[in-house]
Amino acid sequence: MATSSERSPPPFPESEDQEPDPDPADGDSDEGEDIFTGNSKPAEIKAERHQPPVDVTAKLQRDIPSSDPLGDLDGSGANKKPARDGRQADLFTEPRSDIFSEEAAARPARPGPASGSNANSSSKSNGIHSDEEQDIFAEATVELSLDSPHSERKETPKPVTSTESSVAVQPSAPKTALKTMAELEEEESEDKFELNISITNPEKVGDGMNAYMAYQVSTQTSLPMFRSKSFTVKRRFSDFLGLYEKLSEKHAQNGYIVPPPPEKSILGMTKVKVGKEDPSSAEFVERRRAALERYLQRVVAHPSLLQDPDVREFLERDELPRAVNTQALSGAGFLKMINRATDAVSKMTIKMNESDIWFEEKLQEVESEDQQLRKLHGVVESLVNHRKDLSINTAVFAKSVAMLGSSEDNTALSRALSQLAEVEDRMEQLHQEQASSDFFVFAELLADYIRLLGGVRGCFDQRMKTWQRWQDAQVTLQKKRENEARLLWANKPDKLQQAKEEIAEWENKVTQYEADFERISTTVRKEVLRFEKEKARDFKNQIMKYLESLLHSQQQLIKYWEAFLPEAKAIA
């Protein structure tokens, strides 16, 4: 089964050019490298500072970004700054060893921090190395207690270099960020992301209202973290929703932009279930297949998400436990969630004392972009419909002209008219193909990004929540101190001890929550920059694709009319 042919929009007749479109996948994948190339940067710097085998390391690190986080988890451990700590190397060479499992566990707990500490967003990477190391492990211990069992399996190859926590974002951050961004660009071109996903072969399983579509998810990879180089599993739509739910639960709170899945559609699926073999249900299935493919490609393009064992399980495991409770992720439910998040954000924006204007400005940008994208999407949908109308009307006209031609008593004119009918028939097809391209290349791109922007707003929201938690902890701490003072004055020594303990506890919390906030801020910043880069690339690719389809259309048009011209001239 040619993967490529499956991927192109089939329902529209004879889409001749079924190019396998590796670009989006690669494009997305490439983005992931940025983080890693980013990471390698600090790694390199660190290497230089600490040890001789720097070059080797640096080189290794370079290669890694392609396979990135995962590849190294299991194997080489090259990703890590061996420079930093022997432990790190160990950690990666023996990912499952007990001693280091804690760290391993800790790491995942801070995938954000790790990435957050990415050179991209802060100067930390360039600076305080040794300190950070200490901090990381200190943090690691703390984190362990808070982690859910899940995270224990996670491994973050990211050399948790810069510790978000203790180091405040310095004003020089942006400059450094810029510098590293430029360097990132350089390295990017050398990296190859070796993980290709394609979704093919939608098959209806079962009958009646219990029927569902099963999609084949094929992965080809050279990443060592996977059991083999190429494998295929069958998944249904609710599986994808389940994956999103799991990822969102784990990562959204750390400020990650978790790509949202395509919407549920009761109407669309009902038609399929009922078994209507009409073009609209074929179109629906193709639309969903393509959307699911893009969804997975975005997930694996995200360096942190790719490391999540749930993702690996989703791609590899033969039988997946049925994801329940995906009702929450129905189209309406999901939208409600996004809307609630947005409302919450807007409410909080007023209250938050923003120390970094970057966030405020970015949020505004995101909101206005969302508006414009929605508008554009609406117009493009209108274009799709009008072109479909044009196609239908052209077909109808063609038939009419054919009839006219058969009625015509002048032989040459009669022939010319029937040729005209044929040309118009071909035009109908052209219009239909173009409408398909309008939809699958242009409109769906916009729809995807409208959903993604929802995710971006979500991560800003999480940051607000984290800030709020910190502020609340400070308030509580203050109350505890006041309480202690009162007890001192009232001279109640027995309760004093408890009060002191509580103060210590809350002091810790304040410190931790502040660290969380710094961490999530860094993560959000990094995520947004990554997102923007990915978006620019995505758009550019799709725009090119779209323009080429328009071009092809015009070329065909010329051919048809040039063939007709001599017929018209032959009329006598």
């Binding site: 414009q372 044009l390 006219l404 978006k535 080429e548 071009l551 001239k569 009329i571």
Partner: protein, 399 residues
């Protein structure tokens, strides 16, 4: 809104109905027209060497109703029963652009200034196109008359061209309107008559079958072509909105995407101009062609009806003659009447044959010209589109 049709329009005239207005003895054109609310005032300009006119060159203002009056008087003239009377020009219809302008006004708040300006521009172009078309179609009507050997000498035609006062006094009053309505009713009865009558002449038999069939087909094609062209215009309009929104997006974008969006916005703006031209050229060369010949075929059918009626009259007169002979009463009268009917019928048949044959030739030539022009324009516009797309793709690649 005054308009001066230029040479291009004159060519369009010829494309629909060829070889008009080349007889120097009587040259007619409509160089100017004014649009006041619903009414269009045409300036009919005549240049002539014929002596039955008072002056060698003159202009008069005319309204659409004046044209209709002229047409109807010609149709009602017995003498011209054997001729194909050129179809009356349709009433100027600005309904479509006006409605769109109204909708645009209502939607103004939801679009950017540039978007609104472009939409308005597009609508104004459409309005202008309708205007040009109506001028052209009125002009063609007069030119068909002036190039016809018999009709060009009609007295009423002369009055129409020359009379410098308002013609309304001569136009249909209520009675005549009713008369016209009655005539239309009679015409449908004619259709039954025509199909029922036994045709003696092969030529007319074939023509009848052909014209009846062809008429219904061409009517259908005209309607479908119109629908197709309208869809095309909608697509071009969508490009305006897409271009405008892309522009807004690009203005606010701070990433590498900004330039791409800008270029894309530009491209769509240029593409839509081409698409709009494609749609309007298609309309002119295809839809208008079909529409014109649909009306012309109706006029040819009218000729057939008149002939069929004459035949029926003749047959009736025969019967009357027989009856008179039986009764031996008013035989001479009946004979005279019968002879008259026969004469009339023969005259109609003879001129009808000529008219229909030349009509056939005219139609084929017109179709040929228009189809060739349309194909050439489609190719030209597609090449234009291609170069626009290619240069944009190059720009994007190089970035």
């Amino acid at each position: 809104m005054a308009l001066t049709p230029d040479e291009g329009d004159r060519d369009k005239v010829r494309s629909v109905s060829v070889d008009l207005n080349n007889d120097a003895s009587l040259l007619i054109d409509i160089p100017d027209a004014l649009c006041e609310r619903d009414k269009v005032k045409f300036t009919v300009h005549t240049k002539t060497t014929l002596r039955n006119f008072q002056k060698p060159e003159f202009s008069v203002p005319r309204q659409h109703e004046d044209f209709i009056w002229l047409h109807d008087t010609l149709v009602e003239t017995e003498e011209y029963a054997g001729l194909i009377i050129p179809p009356a020009p349709p009433k100027p219809d600005f309904e479509s652009p006006r409605e769109k302008m109204h909708k645009l006004g209502e939607g103004e708040a939801s679009m950017t200034k540039e978007e609104y300006a472009k939409m308005k521009q597009e609508l104004e172009a459409e309005y202008l196109a309708v205007f040009k078309k109506t001028v052209q179609v009125h002009e063609v009507f007069l030119q068909r008359l002036s190039s016809h050997p018999v009709l060009s000498r009609d007295r009423n035609f002369q009055i129409f061209l020359e009379y410098d006062q308002d013609l309304s006094v001569r136009r249909k009053n209520a009675k005549e309107v009713f008369g016209g309505f009655f005539k239309n009713m009679v015409k449908s009865a004619d259709e039954v008559l025509i199909s029922g009558i036994k045709e003696v002449d092969d030529f007319f038999d074939q023509e009848k079958t052909f014209l009846l069939d062809y008429f219904s087909k061409i009517k259908d094609s005209t309607a479908k072509a119109e629908k197709m062209t309208r869809s095309h215009k909608s697509v071009a309009e969508d490009y305006i909105h897409i271009s405008a929104t892309l522009n807004s997006l690009s203005a606010e974008d701070t990433t590498a995407l900004k330039q791409h969006l800008e270029k894309l916005s530009d491209l769509f703006e240029k593409l839509r101009k081409v698409e709009a031209r494609v749609a309007s050229d298609q309309e002119l060369k295809l839809t208008e062609l079909l529409r014109y010949y649909m009306r012309d075929i109706q006029a040819a059918k009218d000729l057939l009806y008149r002939r069929a009626r004459a035949l029926a009259d003749y047959e009736n007169s025969n019967k009357a003659l027989d009856k008179a002979r039986l009764k031996s009463k008013d035989v001479v009268q009946a004979q005279e009447h019968q002879e008259q009917c026969l004469q009339k019928f023969n005259k109609l048949s003879e001129s009808g044959k000529k008219e229909l044959t030349s009509f056939k030739g005219r139609r084929v030539v017109a179709f040929r010209k228009n189809l060739i022009e349309m194909a050439e324009l489609e190719i030209k516009h597609a090449k234009n589109n291609m170069s626009l797309l290619q240069s944009c793709i190059e720009l994007l690649k190089s970035n």
